[in-house]
């Protein structure tokens, strides 16, 4: 197989992986929110407007990762990336960008879905605190989304700032960077989602403790984030140093 064919293969395979894997997370997460919203509307039919609105806000944020992947997939297919002059390093970068954004957004989508689901469930339990719950849901989802933004940064770097050439070592280093950030952000994305979801649940049951709970959420989320920062560091090292 020559480089000219391999570039097409890498770009289309990368686009498929990006959108295929990331849709998994968004679908599960948004379904969880919708399921909990239905349950909450059953419990509190009078609060259905607030619940529907909150469900849509939570789903919109859960969708973010899949939109990142859609952008990268479009860039891979139609962004003028398919160019055999870059050699095997471009082949590796295109495949790597697709894998990084596809796998890297799954964890955050699971996490955002869990947080959003717990938020609408909490509103079903305690509709008076809906503003507090929406605010905390958004804070938790933003924390969880950081890991998919790390994946977006690495995917953009792989697309736009990797050098051309035919070096085997550099090519596999780019693929390695995409594995590191793609799978490494799954854990923190999902883990922070669990923290934020449990915090929202606690606030809905005991709204007076919200300050204490949010403080604990930040501490727990910061510790959970550490492994995705390790992955980011390793990915940077593989792209720029190795």
């Amino acid at each position: 197989m020559d480089v000219g064919n391999a570039v097409y293969l890498a770009a289309y395979l990368g686009a498929g992986l990006a959108i295929g894997i990331s849709s998994l997370g968004a679908g599960v997460g948004e379904g969880f929110i919708a399921g909990n919203a239905s349950y909450a509307i059953m419990r509190q039919p009078k609060a259905r407007d607030v619940l529907l609105r909150n469900m849509l806000i939570g789903q919109a944020i859960t969708e973010t990762g899949a939109i990142f992947s859609l952008v990268i997939a479009m860039l891979l297919m139609f962004g003028g990336m398919i160019n055999s002059e870059g050699g095997w390093q471009t082949v590796a970068s295109l495949f790597g960008a697709g894998l990084a954004i596809g796998a890297g957004t799954v964890g955050a989508a699971f996490g955002n879905g869990y947080t959003g689901g717990e938020a609408v469930k909490g509103m079903g339990r305690n509709p008076k605190e809906s503003k507090l719950l929406t605010a905390n849901m958004l804070i938790g989802q933003a924390l969880s989304q950081t890991s998919s933004i790390f994946a977006l940064v690495i995917a953009m770097l792989l697309l736009y700032s990797t050098p051309a050439g035919n070096n085997l070592v550099k090519s596999l280093a780019f693929v390695g960077a995409s594995f590191a950030i793609g799978f490494g952000t799954f854990g923190p994305g999902f883990g922070i989602g669990i923290v934020a979801g449990k915090t929202v649940e606690g606030i809905s049951k005991f709204p007076k403790q919200s300050a204490l709970l949010v403080r604990t959420m930040f501490v727990g989320a910061a510790v959970s984030e550490s492994t995705s920062i390790y992955s980011l560091v390793v990915a940077f090292l593989l792209i720029f140093v190795a």
């Binding site: 085997l168 090519s171 594995f179 799978f183 854990g187 390790y230």
Partner: protein, 79 residues
Amino acid sequence: MGSEIIRAAALLGAGICMGFGAIGPGVGEGFAAGKACEGIARSPENAGLLTRTMLVGQAVSESTGIYSLVIALLLIFAV
């Protein structure tokens, strides 16, 4: 060619190592913190004790992530 293949495989291995190695600690630490928040919501007077226990548990859970980081750095710089 031989040593180049070894170097390339080491770098790919470093990426795979850090990527999959970070899944467990991330989910595990998040689970620990989530349960700590649940506990603090039920009994806020024990917040200090719960936070301390949460951090100890997270530190233990973090260890495998640090193992992955060490192995990845060794594969990048020492192989």
